[in-house]
Subunit: 332 residues, 2 copies
DNA sequence: ATTCGTCATGTGAGCGCTAACACGGCATAG
DNA sequence: CTATGCCGTGTTAGCGCTCACATGACGAAT
């Protein structure tokens, strides 16, 4: 089994110099039509595939992007990844992916370093932890970098769905039914998104001089939502709950249904994300839709602009959308 | 801004030849301890990062794997992807990812071709459609290739969770409660997994001379499950349903709950996948757990073996596990 | 003292490609 | 009829790295 055919093989077969073949392949320099035909025939016959590694080495441009993802299969990050991949592929960029299990300085640093060695032209970090910001600061590199995270104080450009706006709108929606206050099942406190949602919820309540009930904290998992739900049942005087993501909201619904608490008659429940399942929960879940595909595209655009030297605006924000379903309603 | 430091820069700074630096970096050839120290100091000072593109070009080994994934964010494929990535990273392989929107010959061909240009040493195709097999046949390439798909007749090595076994076990589980027969909400008929689950279900019924009810067909989405659920309600005489995945099962549960059909008292419902949410459905869903992380690792091992020339066994199968929860029970 | 082997290092070529320039040939302009 | 220009093509030198070999220094064996 011989090695893959190279430019010179094609050149030899077509009876031209390798440079002419290169011109045909890249469609730049001037080539006479019949020469081009001969070359293309040779390419076809040999099944020649340009070696993009060699090209990258010669040009100094790899047309490759790196993505650092959290080692998890959450709906949001996974969707964002695919959004980025789609946008990148359409623009002729290849994607290298690396996952990290913990969002600390060392892991992120290693991941970024590994991608740089691979010669990526830019890096996206989808690791929406509070620690990620500092970790990125440490990961000193001159490769353009964009983070997918809703943070004002990140040391790198940031793209995100507007968490604050989304959380504000659900909270206001819940209050609009006349509930005395809104409880909150928050995400892990080391997540930026969790903090942003919690802060927005809190500010709506304080703005209106409404009592701020203690926060229940989960870890995004349905199980943690279930436990929070049981705690809320024990609490008794609960009329409305804003749960920081749909998976936990499912757990809350489960706990309520087991305990004979009716949604939305006894308690209104709202989530965040609009996972595909949310419309089929019992009852269908009021939630905030995040357009992760748009987020991915925007992230890619942002990074591309940075690679090409066009200075982008400081913050790229994707607006969320409140999706009202049957899990929220007037107080009984 | 100067370019990234290269081997020669380090060599110059350390006062040695580039080859000595190479030996230090790769830890092979003999180097005197103090020389090594000088070199490492220079590496540190310059912030030198080996360029793996150049290395790949020189050695002919890229240590890169390509993954072709379906353009979707389904739980299974996404988890498998992460399993592969983890295993690969541990073994020093980088991952390039490409997604395809349709599983036809052209898309798959393009995806495989693109990855080959990137110089990958092996390719995993996670595109479990019936058409994928033929598409792979067409994508003639001498790069080692493994498909994640439960098919006997694929033209390439295959790794999969044993769909047949899983489906057989749920069906038998449902029959064990004394239900006269088991209905089936199947996945799209162009998916191998959907076919395998349906075939297994059918064979259990025919083996036992049980009536085989007409198949209801969905598209994996909760919505399609919901519609199937409504159809089952209209049908009336339904005691047990095996739904081909958990998302559709959620839709079925929703339809039943809306229609006042009680699960499992009126109808037993079982799913497939064991998504993290399944335990918190109402009622918690009996389902078949697929260990996608193990699947990913096995896939990587398989591919690695193929790259290194060790001929692997014909079929790598990961066993599924029946998870019994509250959605299944005796006929009323 | 000479030969040999080993260790530590250096040299040159080449992986497959592109950028930059060099060079004939033919048309047009002077 | 020579000068100027452009077109089509070839030549050369790298990109950053590794491989295969060459070289020199030193100790041990002859």
């Amino acid at each position: 089994m011989a090695r893959q055919p190279a430019l010179t093989d094609v050149a030899a077969l077509a009876g031209v110099s390798h440079m002419t073949v290169s011109r045909v392949i890249n469609g730049n320099g001037p080539v006479r039509p019949d020469t081009r035909r001969r070359v293309l025939a040779a390419v076809e016959q040999l099944g020649y595939r340009p070696n993009s590694l060699a090209r990258a080495l010669a040009t100094g441009r790899s047309h490759r992007l790196g993505v650092v993802a959290l080692d998890s299969v959450l709906y949001g990050p996974a969707s964002t990844l695919f959004g980025i991949e789609n946008a990148a592929r359409e623009s002729g960029y290849a994607i290298s992916i690396t996952s990290v299990s913990r969002p600390d300085r060392e892991s992120i640093g290693e991941a970024v370093d590994g991608l740089c060695r691979q010669g990526v032209e830019g890096i996206v970090v989808i690791a929406p932890h509070v620690a990620t910001g500092q970790a990125l600061e440490a990961a000193a590199t001159d490769v353009p970098l964009v983070a997918v995270a809703d943070s004002d104080q990140a040391p790198v450009p940031v793209v995100a769905v507007d968490q604050h706006d989304g959380a504000r709108r659900v909270t206001e929606h819940l209050l609009s039914f006349g509930h005395p206050t809104v409880w909150h099942v928050a995400g892990p406190c080391d997540w930026l998104d969790a903090r942003a949602r919690e802060n927005a919820w809190r500010s709506v309540l304080t703005e209106r001089d409404t009592r701020v009930p203690p926060v229940l904290r989960g870890d995004w998992s349905p199980r943690s939502g279930y436990l929070a739900g049981l705690a809320l049942v024990a609490e008794g005087e609960v009329g409305a709950v804003f749960v920081a993501n749909d998976q936990m909201a499912l757990g809350v619904l489960r706990a309520f249904s087991e305990s004979g608490v009716s949604v939305p008659d006894d308690v209104s429940v709202a989530g965040f994300d609009d996972v595909p399942e949310a419309a089929y929960f019992s009852p269908p879940l009021t939630t905030v839709r995040q357009d992760f595909i748009a987020l991915g595209r925007k992230t890619f655009d942002r990074l591309l602009r940075q690679i090409e030297g066009t200075r982008p605006s400081a913050r790229s924000i994707v607006p969320p959308e409140l999706i009202v379903r049957e899990s929220t309603g007037p107080a009984r």
